[in-house]
C-alpha cells in the first residue's frame, strides 16, 4: 500500500512519518500543501506534526485553508483512512473533520515525554492490530494538546465509541496524574463517527522501530496497512 504525507511550511515530523509509513514493505511519498490533487494510488493520508504556518493565529488555523486540505476532505469523505498526528490533529479539528479543539496545555508548558495510552477501541483502521484495553507507550511533544469539546460533543464521542486513546497509567487506569495536558476525559486521540479519520496528539511515528527505544507506535501503521490490505 502507499501512504501520502502532507507537507506544510513548518511541518517537522514529516520525515519521521515517511520513515514509519515506509516500513513493512509499504511505500510513502510527500504531498506538498499547494498541490491541488492527491495521486490516485494513495491509500492513506498522514498529516504530520510540526508548527505549520508557525502556529499563527491558532495551531492549524491557516493550514486548514491550504489547497491540499480540500482534497484531504474529499479523500476522508470517500472513507479512506486519514491520520493527523499532533499538529495534524489540530489541523483536522480546525478543518471540522474532527470535533472539538486543542487548547493550551493546562500547565502552560510545552511537554515532551513518554506517556501511556489506553486503547479503547480495536475495531478501527488505526487500532485493529492492538487489543482493546491494552496499554501502549508513545511520546508526546506539544504545547496545545488540551482536548476540549462541549458536553454534547463529548457525549456523542462516548456514545459512538470515538475516543480511541486515553492517557492512562502503565496499568491502563485513567487518572488525573496520567493526564499530561488537562484534556477532557484524558482524551489523547479520537476518530470521526465513520472511524476513518483519526487525530492523536502522541507521536506513534517516533516509536515505530526498536532502535528508537520502542516500537509500540508501529501498531498504528500496521493497523492501517492491515485495513487497506483487507478491504
Amino acid at each position: 500500500m502507499k501512504y501520502g504525507v502532507i507537507v506544510f511550511p513548518g511541518s517537522n515530523c514529516d520525515r519521521d512519518a515517511l520513515f514509519a509509513a515506509s516500513l513493512m514493505g509499504n511505500t510513502a511519498e510527500f504531498i506538498w500543501h499547494k498541490d491541488t490533487s492527491i495521486p490516485s494510488d494513495i491509500d492513506s493520508i498522514i498529516i504530520p506534526g510540526g508548527f505549520s504556518y508557525g502556529d499563527y493565529l491558532r495551531c492549524g488555523a491557516i493550514s486548514r485553508f491550504s489547497n491540499i486540505m480540500k482534497e484531504v476532505i474529499k479523500f476522508a469523505d470517500s472513507g479512506k483512512p486519514v491520520i493527523g498526528i499532533c499538529n495534524g490533529f489540530q489541523i483536522l479539528t480546525e478543518a471540522n473533520l474532527l470535533p472539538g479543539a486543542l487548547l493550551r496545555n493546562k500547565s502552560i508548558s510545552f511537554i515532551c515525554k513518554d506517556v501511556y495510552l489506553k486503547v479503547n477501541e480495536d475495531n478501527t483502521p488505526f487500532t485493529n492490530t492492538l487489543e482493546k484495553d491494552s496499554v501502549i507507550k508513545i511520546p508526546i511533544a506539544h504545547g496545545e494538546g488540551n482536548y476540549f469539546a462541549d458536553d454534547n460533543t463529548i457525549k456523542s464521542l462516548q456514545d459512538n465509541n470515538q475516543i480511541v486513546f486515553q492517557y492512562s497509567d502503565v496499568d491502563g487506569k485513567i487518572t488525573d496524574e496520567a493526564n499530561p495536558n488537562g484534556s477532557m476525559l484524558n482524551i489523547a486521540g479520537i476518530t470521526n463517527k465513520n472511524k476513518n479519520v483519526l487525530g492523536m496528539m502522541p507521536h506513534p511515528e517516533r516509536y515505530s522501530d526498536n532502535i528508537l527505544g520502542c516500537d509500540d507506535g508501529l501498531n498504528v501503521f500496521k493497523s492501517i496497512t492491515n485495513f487497506i490490505n483487507s478491504n
Binding site: 491558532r58 488555523a61 487548547l103
Partner: protein
C-alpha cells in the same frame, strides 16, 4: 465604498479555563495586586475593510471571524467598526 477600521477582540469562551490568565493572576497576586481577579488573556486583531457602510463592514468582519479569525468552539469575539 469606504474604508473602515475593524478592531477585533478575541478571548477564550467563559466556560473555558484560561490557563494563561490564571498564571498572570497568580503573578499579580504575588506582586500584591490583591484586588485583581478574573484575568483573561486574548488576542487583538486590527484590519481595514472596504464596505458600503459600517453595517456591511461589521457583517463582513463577523463572517471572517466565524470562518477563520476566531474558533467559535473555544473563543468569543467582539467587533468594533470605526470610520
Amino acid at each position: 465604498m469606504k474604508n473602515y477600521k475593524a478592531k477585533i477582540y478575541i478571548t477564550l469562551r467563559e466556560n473555558i479555563l484560561d490557563v494563561q490568565g490564571k498564571a498572570v493572576e497568580h503573578a499579580l497576586h504575588s506582586l500584591e495586586f490583591n484586588n485583581f481577579s478574573d484575568v483573561r488573556i486574548g488576542k487583538y486583531v486590527e484590519l481595514i475593510v472596504l464596505a458600503q457602510n459600517d453595517g456591511q463592514a461589521e457583517e463582513m468582519v463577523k463572517s471572517a471571524c466565524d470562518k477563520l479569525i476566531a474558533n467559535p468552539i473555544i473563543e468569543d469575539y467582539t467587533v468594533e467598526i470605526i470610520e
